[in-house]
């Protein structure tokens, strides 16, 4: 992992939340700077270097979304993780499509938050892979040039569209891909609304890829937002929590991934 401290800018108008985050983030190797408004955050970003931004969406002043837009125009690659509440899926989707790297739903656990920040920083720091490079995550191996997929060395037969979906997800592993982005990438912009169609394909894909499609390990659902393919770190975390919880069943997706299921 990173040797030097990750410099994170926490932007939230609630002092209690900033106060609660400072001790654990500092203890866990982050260097935390606070801003209570978007305007203030933009000011800080102009003068100080940061590795990641934690950005609340609902703030007075210009608000989180506008702050995000301005951050993107000045720092296109700076990891931005937005903080939002459960029943605001449109907000999540909107922020993701405006270039947020990820989101965390309030109230969140520190472990989940830290994992998200680290993953986003890691992705930015990783050297960009070439379009044709083979992608290998867990037991799944995808070769773009040969358009082939194997699991534990065995070939998996996929239709053309299934392959395209998987390629799109695996090449951005760890990131949530919104429905409309995935639909646009695979079928074109005309189909960006056909979510139910996409769900059917994902269902077929899970049957081919997952050991237990009812408890997917790789192809995870962010309910009402999109899908994400687990990256290596997430798979390791799944394994760790499975052993920890003494669960006899398959590894669960990290609890943060079942957003919106508590209703």
């Amino acid at each position: 992992m990173t040797t030097s401290a990750i410099r994170v800018l926490v932007v939230d108008d609630e002092p209690a939340i900033r106060r609660a985050l400072r001790p654990p983030l500092t203890e866990l190797g982050f260097e935390m700077t606070e801003a209570s408004r978007g305007e203030m955050a933009l000011e800080l970003l102009r003068t100080e270097p940061f590795d990641a931004v934690l950005l609340d969406v609902n703030m007075p002043g210009i608000g989180g979304i506008e702050t995000l837009r301005r951050i993107r125009s000045m720092a296109p690659r700076l990891p931005v993780i937005i903080l939002t509440v459960r029943d605001r899926e449109e907000e999540k989707v909107g922020a993701l499509e405006m270039g947020a790297d990820d989101y965390v739903t309030k109230p969140f656990g520190v472990r989940e938050l830290v994992a998200r920040i680290r993953a986003a920083v890691r992705r930015v720091q990783a050297p960009p892979a070439s379009e044709d490079a083979v992608i290998e995550i867990g037991e799944i191996r995808l070769s773009p040039s040969r358009r082939s997929v194997t699991k534990r060395g065995h070939a998996i037969h996929l239709t053309r569209k299934e392959f395209d979906i998987l390629h799109c997800l695996m090449s951005r592993a760890g990131r949530v891909i919104t429905y409309s982005r995935l639909l646009t990438a695979v079928w074109g912009a005309d189909c960006r609304e056909e979510v139910e169609y996409l769900r059917t394909f994902i269902r077929q894909l899970r049957k081919k890829i997952e050991d237990d499609p009812a408890h997917p390990r790789y192809m995870l659902t962010d309910i009402y937002v999109g899908y994400r393919f687990a990256d290596q770190q997430m798979l390791d975390d799944q394994d760790a929590s499975a052993t920890q919880s003494l669960s006899t069943s398959d590894a669960e997706p990290a609890s943060n991934l079942s957003i919106g299921t508590g209703q």
Binding site: E14, I17, P24, V85, D87, K106, L113, T221, E252, G262
Partner: protein
């Protein structure tokens, strides 16, 4: 005259014009009708009517009994106990004209139902008195209809307010909850805790999570009920939903909550889709499954079935566990109701099933629970579907707001 006469008025006029009524009385009758039609129906009409009859028809005295409000309105001077007089006219349904005393008594009827009485003393044609009783009946009725309407409107308004308050309250809870959760989970992540400290920290974390769940449910209820109350289903986001992918998603999202049970899925026919609000139906099924996991015997089988017939889609969740007594079967869908057994067995909020009920109701469907044939309980949710008209599915899709 701009006002339109309600039905029944014409008859009153024909009666009065038939014989006797003078031209002046006819003009007064017109004037009286005009003013009752323009009356502010937000206030009870009785006092104003009595006053107007008195001056307009130059009567000695007027008494008017509104049986619904149980009030007598008078104008002019009465030497007898007119309250009793007016009420007796109503109770004994006696309409007559006494030439000696100059008193006319009329039962005010709506159709054949007496709703009050009118007693006049003065020089007025009997037919005019009858016409007046008819006009007053219509006015009383219009007042009642208006009052009813505004009462319903007021109830709706109160319900909307309640939902709004609940909604903002729930959102206001999120900030302290986030701080608590961040602090408790942060403490745990930082380590250096003794076993006892770790135990307390995890208790805080757990309870914060419970409080959050409760808050989410309140939010959902508030939203569902505010939809409900507006009397429209406009905010339902209807789309064609494939039962199989919906169920897959729900089961997957249960995560470790379902770890202690095996869930069997039966879908008939295997691939079917139906128009519904995906979010609401998934909330309902999640609730059923959550309950099944929570209250069923460990390691027992949970069966989730989705069946489509010509007229409806029937979803059901069966689990083995203590049978819900018949007396509880309806009430468990009421908000905050928890069976005595549930109250002692597992943590719950008593809101979940009422959400399920509202979610089905929003689709025009229904929910119920029955004892399973092989023991345990089966929770059902039925969603009516339009018959297999080929256009129905696309219509539903187009209706998405």
């Amino acid at each position: 005259m701009g006002a339109i006469r309600p039905r029944g008025l014409s008859r009153a006029f024909r009666t009065a014009r038939g014989a006797g009524a003078s031209a002046a009385e006819m003009r007064n009758l017109h004037e009286f009708t005009r003013s009752t039609l323009q009356m502010n129906l937000g206030v009870k009409p009785g006092p104003h009517i009595a006053e107007q009859l008195h001056t307009l028809f130059e009567l000695d005295a007027v008494a008017l009994f509104d049986a619904d409000l149980r009030e007598v309105y008078t104008a002019g001077k009465w030497s007898v106990d007119v309250n009793e007089l007016a009420q007796n006219v109503y109770h004994f349904e006696s309409s007559d004209d006494d030439r000696h005393t100059g008193i006319s008594r009329r039962v005010i009827r709506l159709g054949s139902v007496p709703i009050g009485s009118l007693v006049l003393r003065g020089d007025v044609d009997p037919l005019t008195s009858s016409a007046l009783a008819g006009i007053i009946a219509i006015t009383f009725d219009r007042f009642r209809a208006t009052a009813n309407e505004s009462r319903i409107e007021a109830e709706r308004e109160a319900e909307r307010m309640r939902a709004t308050v609940l909604d903002s309250l729930a959102h206001a809870y999120k900030t302290p909850l986030t701080a608590i959760r961040a602090a408790s989970s942060g403490l745990a992540e930082m380590g250096h805790l003794s076993a006892a400290q770790a135990e307390l920290v995890s208790l805080i974390d757990e309870q914060a999570a419970l409080l959050n769940e409760l808050t989410n449910r309140l939010l959902t209820t508030a939203r569902l009920e505010s939809t409900d109350v507006q009397g429209t289903r406009a905010s339902l986001q209807l789309e064609q939903v494939s039962a199989a992918s919906l169920i897959d998603e729900i089961v997957a999202s249960l995560g470790e909550r379902s770890a202690a049970n095996e869930i069997r899925i039966e879908i008939l026919p295997t691939e079917f889709a139906f128009p519904c609000d995906r979010r609401l139906v998934s909330m309902l099924l999640t609730q059923y499954l959550d309950n099944a996991c929570k209250y069923s015997d460990a390691d027992s089988l949970i069966t989730l079935r989705a069946e489509r017939s010509e007229t409806e889609v029937l979803l059901s969740v069966h689990s083995f566990g203590d049978i819900i007594p018949p007396s509880d079967r309806e009430r468990i869908f009421d908000r905050y109701y928890r069976t005595s057994a549930a109250a002692t067995r597992a943590a719950g909020t008593g809101i979940g099933l009422s959400i399920a009920k509202n979610a089905a109701a929003a689709h025009g469907g229904s929910v119920w629970v029955a004892a399973g044939e092989r023991g345990g309980n089966t929770f059902f949710a039925a969603f009516p579907i339009a018959s297999e008209a080929p256009s129905s599915s696309t219509d539903a899709e187009r209706n998405i707001a």
